[in-house]
Symmetry: C2
């Protein structure tokens, strides 16, 4: 490919999430040529994805074209391509019929929703990882209310107006809280035949408490705040089966719902299986302390798809700050290698994760935050959450637009993104035979 036709050191980065993007921004070397490969043309601000799913924000407000973020990094080349395989021994990456060779490889392919041993559940209970997931969930739920408005069958209405979120982690809590507000506040006056405030939002957690990364005290506070919003929090419930429009629990209870969402599991990008290196149960690459892949000092794995243990032996969590820290660490190591023109893994410094704390938002002026020993909840935690996320939103325009929209929504409860696209022409626009292949096919 045109990107490899020279003798400068080639650094290939796979994935333009927080890890891959931060790496491209951090690495600076006079001759190194960086190639960033992603199957999407945009970087996604994952922490706010639930806002798109719940019609609080529109897609472009949390996504930026990768090219425009990196337009001033002249040594970075962006490819919108699908990675299909690897040959680490020959230092090759396969992109369909094309081959990309590298001197250094940074794996930042992230993670996807995991359904444990039940892949068949995905069709009935979508996860929330990509913009398309978010837009699909939004469409599904808005259409459910439209159909409920049209339906005279009480049982059908109830199933259409029941939203079940499986998984009491931060994403599940954020989704449940946002859906409660959407139905209780935003949609309340939009319909004539149904009362959206009657909608049920149920949050299911298999463990005794939600938000396990947080202290018991904050978990309890989160439950209180969710309940106040109208969310039913069910803990200690195990899902036995998920089918079309229903969910069967291990204790025999059965929930009929047209809107089942899954946030209970995460696995590394399945491409890791094609690496031929050791993985953990979640498909994550078990890396050396310097984040390099065992046996391949020129290959690094960062972010969600790397299993890294902190000094206390616990795995570093799959959160954006961790991915960004790993990216900067890797960039430094590669620069050092290139400068010394040697590759000596033993000389490399180990990665150390600095935990800046965790927060989860629950709703308007409701959140929980844990920063080291410091714990807080309610309005202060929400304000902290808001500012942190606005600060880290990539792209000034988005930050301003998001702040504007939130301020406006905060006072009016009107959400501006309740648009359903892809209803009638979806085949034409999204199934266009000219398009999909375009992304992959490319001549030598």
């Amino acid at each position: 490919m045109n990107t490899t036709n020279n003798n400068q050191p080639q650094v290939v980065v796979l994935g333009a999430g927080f890890g891959g993007l931060t790496f491209c921004q951090a690495i600076s070397h006079p001759t190194a040529q960086v190639t960033l490969v992603d199957r999407q043309n945009h970087h996604l601000f994952q922490p706010l994805l639930y806002q798109v799913a719940t019609a609080g924000l529109s897609a472009p407000e949390i996504a930026q074209p990768i090219r425009s973020i990196l337009r001033n990094k002249r040594n970075v080349n962006v490819l919108l391509r699908d990675v299909t395989g690897f040959d680490l021994a020959r230092r090759e990456i396969w992109l369909g019929d094309d081959v990309l060779t590298y001197d250094y490889l940074v794996l930042a392919l992230g993670s996807k929703t995991g359904y444990f041993d039940h892949p068949e559940w995905e069709q009935y209970a979508p996860g929330l990882k990509s913009l398309d997931d978010a837009l699909g969930i939004r469409r599904r739920i808005l259409l459910a209310f439209e159909q409920a408005e049209n339906s005279a069958d009480p049982a059908e209405r109830e199933s259409l107006m029941t939203i079940v979120v499986v998984g009491g982690g931060p994403t599940g809590v954020e989704l449940a809280g946002a859906f409660a507000e959407l139905t209780r506040r935003v949609l309340k006056r939009d319909f004539r035949q149904i009362d959206p405030r009657q909608a049920r939002v149920i949050l299911l957690e298999a463990m005794p408490r939600i938000l396990r990364p947080f202290s018991e005290r904050l978990s309890a506070k989160a439950v209180t705040q969710l309940t106040r919003l109208g969310v039913e929090v069910w803990t200690n419930v195990r899902v036995e089966t998920i089918g079309d429009g229903f969910l069967q629990l291990a204790d025999g209870r059965r929930i009929k719902s047209a809107n089942i969402l899954w946030t209970a599991g995460v696995i590394a990008n399945p491409l890791t299986r094609k690496l031929g290196v050791e993985l953990d149960r979640a498909g994550r690459v078990i890396v050396n302390s310097d984040l390099s892949v065992p046996g391949h000092p020129e290959v690094f794995a960062i972010g969600d798809l790397a299993l890294v243990r902190n000094e206390r032996g616990q795995p570093v969590p799959g959160v954006s700050p961790a991915a960004m820290q790993m990216a900067r660490h890797t960039a430094r190591l590669i620069e050092d290698d290139l400068n010394n023109e040697t590759t000596n893994p033993r000389a490399r410094t180990a990665f150390e994760y600095w935990d800046k704390g965790t927060m989860a938002t629950i709703g308007r002026s409701a959140a929980v935050a844990q920063i080291g020993r410091l714990e807080f909840s309610g309005w202060p935690a929400w304000a902290a959450w808001l500012s942190v996320h606005l600060i880290f939103l990539i792209g000034f325009r988005n930050r301003l637009a998001v702040l504007l929209q939130w301020t406006y929504s905060y006072f009016t409860y009107k959400l501006g993104s309740r648009i359903i696209t892809g209803l009638n022409d979806s085949r034409k626009t999204d199934q266009d035979p000219d398009e999909e292949p375009m992304v992959c096919s490319s001549k030598k």
Copy 2:
């Protein structure tokens, strides 16, 4: 259906465009029950649709949920449904298996792209009428540049980097101008292998001049401004064939392009054929002077799908101000009928179109405007165009967001909406079998 289970006068409005929506806002009667039916959940600000197609604005910025616009009109009931047929004699509208009965019917179903006798061209040269059209065009063109970046074949690159807009009307001119700016200004530094400024944007017009609604002088000015932006304006060219990736002209010339867009024809919503009333060549309903359908004083046709002649015998143009004027006229007539409890078409006043003037934008601070005898172009026309469109944008949030984004884009040339969705998961999210039927199916 639950909406017709009472004895109050039933007014059914089909289509939530400028006409249908304005009617719902204008009609006020103590007992009249209004039901607004649309296949989409949003009202679309058509005049800015080209901005979505050219990645200048994001979909929610020019679309508003119909329900939220009408949330305070308690006598208006909104149905997200597909109209499948009519029985005017029995005053019935068919929505799949459901039947909607009416005392008054307002047809405001709008128009769609027309390909004259060549429906097969649609697959190769999409039109621009819906949000999905716009998002599809945006995706198609952004992907073409991505593929050009990947391609080493000069011929393929040229075809990928050639944008052909067929039709020199306002929409065609706006699209061509916006694409010229997108390639010349916005994308210019985003790629490494290609120079987007080399992209060709060709505007084809069969007549001797573009923008026929305007004076010859303004047409000429428009050509000058388009050329300055980098658009090639070809007039007097007739299209013979459009195929996959090429366009054959009557004069023998052949253009290879992966991005052919069609704005050369408009026909009324094909549903008019199911009315069993007289139509013109473009499928428009030929209405009485009061906008009622001949033989059906209780049925009115407004907006793009009505053929109305002004006092000089010329058809009223298919523009939003005309549709809104017709809507208010119809609302008044129906109120009068209901108040007198009689229906006497002869007593009705005829519709009179007040032409407020026409404008077309060409690019940043480039436009043409004609208001009666007054003609202007360039910056003043653009400023006028901008303010008129911002004033008429429905929804405060959108207006503010659009203004903010435009101001920002104006000074930075960065466009924030260059996001491609529906690349990988499009089948899952847009082909979800649970979704599409939801819109139509409904129990009695």
